[in-house]
């Protein structure tokens, strides 16, 4: 009996071993090895291989994605010797994977990173600053708009090349409802704005559709700009660089109070904490709400999803000036969000090829294509065909041409602080906390 058991186990072991070796060897010959060291000696006709991980999924119809593929196609046609192997994942999955790869020190050659990842990546020596690359091509460098590098800066070093510049705050409003409520033009002052909200509410509409279930909407799309109106950008910079500013300062508390005031006066729909930003647009599309606050990405949603009669009367605006506030009335919270960088280990011709790829993805020519796809690039587009712009995007381009970009809170602050702030804002909206208490709580987490 015992010897039989032994036999059985041996058999199982053998089966397991053959299986293991089979998958170890059988597939090896077919797959490519990305590291071409062995062929480094004979330089003639060897193509340079780069792998590139990003989240521009082919299924998407977002302008930025379409522009990305135009540029890639063009680049591949012009540079047949550079072979780019792409790995494409959905946005959230991408974030998980890049962080895991970074932890395992196995980053692909080219990739996209977010502002909040920079410090961790730099500490582990995974990426190098791109300053020297930029210095070598002044024309390319000067093409970038002001402030787009802010998200990726540590001291003077820049750690990624941005390709888009998105404002996170735009007010989308229904002109018809405004007129029906006796408001002829978008209010030019904070008091006027509150008046308008009151008038719209009295007519039975929801003044502002808000879906804050994901917690970030109020922080990103309302408070980052409203806060700047009250505190000014210097305050934020001092917070970010830890130069003494506090969240408990009266200006910031006033900004929080202003958010709560809107909630108390019934500016938002009652279920604001249980619907998401997709659903708040549904409220607006249904003609039941007069406004919603969201970033520039919603522009394409309007032209693709909204019923014609709503899309036709939708206009864009930004928050009006706040009397007594320290901020600029033209400030709009905006940022690049993501930017390109390469593996710190890339050397020689591979590095040179990588730079060429990045140039193709961020230069003026690309900015023009991007603009014509109705996506705001991070570089100046120069001359572009305005007729390709949708009316809404045209308005947006006009607003942004005058606007001053200010930081987006949840892109630039540490995640822990943001978590406290965004959860606190949810409570603030339902009056479960006061502005003073919330400010103290954020300050405590910040310290």
């Amino acid at each position: 009996m015992k010897s039989n058991v032994l036999k059985l186990w041996c058999l199982a072991l053998v089966v397991a071993m053959t299986f293991l070796t089979a998958c170890g060897t059988k597939n090896d010959d077919g797959s490519k090895t990305p590291h071409g060291e062995q062929e480094g000696g004979n330089g003639q006709e060897t193509s340079i291989e780069l792998n590139f991980m990003h989240f521009n999924v082919k299924e998407s119809s977002e302008g930025g994605t379409l522009a990305f593929y135009d540029a890639m196609e063009m680049f591949k046609d012009n540079n047949p010797n550079i072979e780019i192997e792409e790995e494409i994942l959905g946005h959230d999955a991408y974030e998980t994977k890049i962080k895991t790869l970074a932890a395992a020190n196995e980053l692909p050659d080219l990739f996209v990173i977010k502002g909040s990842m920079v410090s961790a990546f730099v500490e582990s020596g995974l990426i190098n600053p791109v300053n020297d690359i930029l210095e070598q091509a002044p024309a390319w460098k000067d093409g970038f708009m002001d402030g787009v590098f802010n998200d990726f800066k540590m001291g003077d070093n820049i750690y990624a090349l941005p390709y888009s510049n998105k404002s996170t705050h735009i007010i989308y409003y229904n002109e018809d409802i405004f007129e029906e409520c006796g408001i002829t033009s978008f209010p030019a002052s904070w008091e006027g704005f509150k008046d308008a909200v009151g008038k719209i509410r009295d007519k039975g509409y929801t003044p502002i559709a808000l879906g804050n279930k994901g917690k970030w909407v109020v922080g990103s799309c309302i408070l980052s700009t409203l806060g700047d109106r009250f505190t000014g950008t210097d305050w934020f910079m001092s917070i970010k660089d830890r130069k003494g500013a506090k969240f408990t300062e009266p200006e910031f508390v006033d900004a929080l109070a202003a958010v709560q005031e809107l909630a108390v006066m019934g500016a938002f729909n009652a279920d604001m904490n249980s619907i998401d930003n997709m659903q708040h647009k549904t409220l607006y599309y249904g003609g039941k709400a007069a406004m919603f606050f969201e970033g520039a990405w919603a522009i394409s949603s309007i032209s693709e999803e909204a019923p014609q009669e709503i899309a036709d009367v939708t206009k864009l605006a930004i928050l009006p000036a706040v009397e007594g506030g320290k901020g600029d009335a033209k400030a709009v919270s905006a940022g690049a969000g993501w930017g390109y960088n390469m593996n710190a280990e890339l050397q020689g011709e591979k590095k040179q090829a990588a730079v060429e790829v990045f140039k193709a993805l961020t230069d003026e020519k690309q900015a023009k294509i991007s603009m014509e796809y109705n996506a705001m690039p991070a570089s100046n587009p120069g001359e572009y065909d305005e007729s390709k712009l949708t009316p809404l995007f045209k308005q947006y381009a006009d607003i942004m041409a005058e606007a001053k970009s200010v930081p987006v809170y949840d892109v630039q602050l540490e995640p822990a602080v943001i978590e406290v702030m965004n959860s606190g804002l949810q409570e603030l909206l339902i009056q479960a906390t006061t502005p003073e208490e919330l400010a103290k709580k954020i300050q405590k987490e910040y310290e």
Binding site: F19, E62, H91, T100
Partner: protein
């Protein structure tokens, strides 16, 4: 008497209505997903729950043409079936040995297997990735089967071991006296008795493998080797999600799971209670 019957009747109706509501709450998302997949993005964002006005199958065509759902589907099927076969074969033999033989280190082996159930998958992502990298096993057709089998085994062994313990040893003794070698006893006598427990293992491991996301995301790179859960993330762009198309892809992904469940549901319930009462 009459009043009591009336009371009983109303209670019954009340209970039934509640049950109906519960089952409706469970099944509605599936129905909603199915009919939403026939809507256009515009229809969908106008009214999330309304029925499609003009049903169209474009989403399915797109899900297969650009979304390559059929490839992901076949990959998932391939990996699912192979993993389940391995889990059941290895799990059954191991469970039999552990429950029938007393040898030194038996408890250690058993406990080691059970520990497998306690380790959170996310804590293993990076170590497993590094290990696979060294072994050159990343991004191969069979890559995912290894971790899936490894993570499926503990539960399979746990369930089968406790089930085999409940089978009277006299059956095997009788077989032995009649001259049946152990392999025959195992395959012809024990295995058929274990069928309910095995179908439980089959269904649970298959579902787990079918839905597994983290390993499939980390270990696989090529589009042609990805499984469904990772493939589905391709439908969400950075700022917007094309919901109806995603729904169409989801229908493609969920349909087989539902069919597998319907085929085996009776067995699963049997297997679960069989283990529960006697174990």
């Amino acid at each position: 008497m009459k009043r009591r019957r009336l009371l009983g009747k109303t209670l019954e109706i009340l209970l039934n209505v509640m049950m109906l509501l519960f089952s409706f709450a469970c099944i509605f998302p599936l129905i909603w997903m199915t009919y939403s997949s026939l809507k256009t993005q515009k229809d969908f964002s106008l009214n999330i729950i309304s029925l499609p006005l003009a049903p169209q199958f474009n989403n399915y065509i797109e899900a297969i043409r650009t979304g390559k759902m059929h490839i992901f589907f076949l990959n998932s099927m391939f990996i699912g079936i192979i993993s389940v076969v391995f889990i059941i074969a290895i799990g059954f033999i191991t469970a039999y040995c552990l429950s029938r033989f007393n040898f030194r280190g038996r408890n250690l082996i058993y406990v080691l297997f059970l520990f497998g159930m306690l380790v959170p998958v996310h804590s293993l992502l990076v170590p497993v990735f590094v290990q696979f990298k060294w072994l050159g096993l990343l991004n191969k057709r069979l890559t995912l089967i290894l971790p899936y089998v490894a993570f499926g085994l503990p539960m399979a062994i746990f369930l089968l071991e406790s089930f085999i313990k409940t089978i009277p040893i006299e059956i095997e003794e009788a077989a032995c006296i009649d001259g049946s070698p152990i392999a025959v006893t195992l395959m012809k006598i024990i295995m058929p008795i274990c069928r309910p427990a095995m179908s439980t293992v089959l269904i649970l491991t298959f579902l787990h493998v079918w839905n597994e996301f983290p390993f499939a995301l980390i270990l696989i790179k090529s589009d042609y080797l990805k499984t469904l859960p990772v493939g589905l993330t391709n439908f969400s762009g950075q700022y917007s999600v094309d919901y109806p198309r995603l729904m169409a892809a989801l229908v493609i992904a969920t349909l087989p799971v539902i069919i597998v469940y319907l085929l085996f549901s009776k067995k699963i319930i049997q297997g679960m209670t069989a283990g529960a009462v006697k174990g």
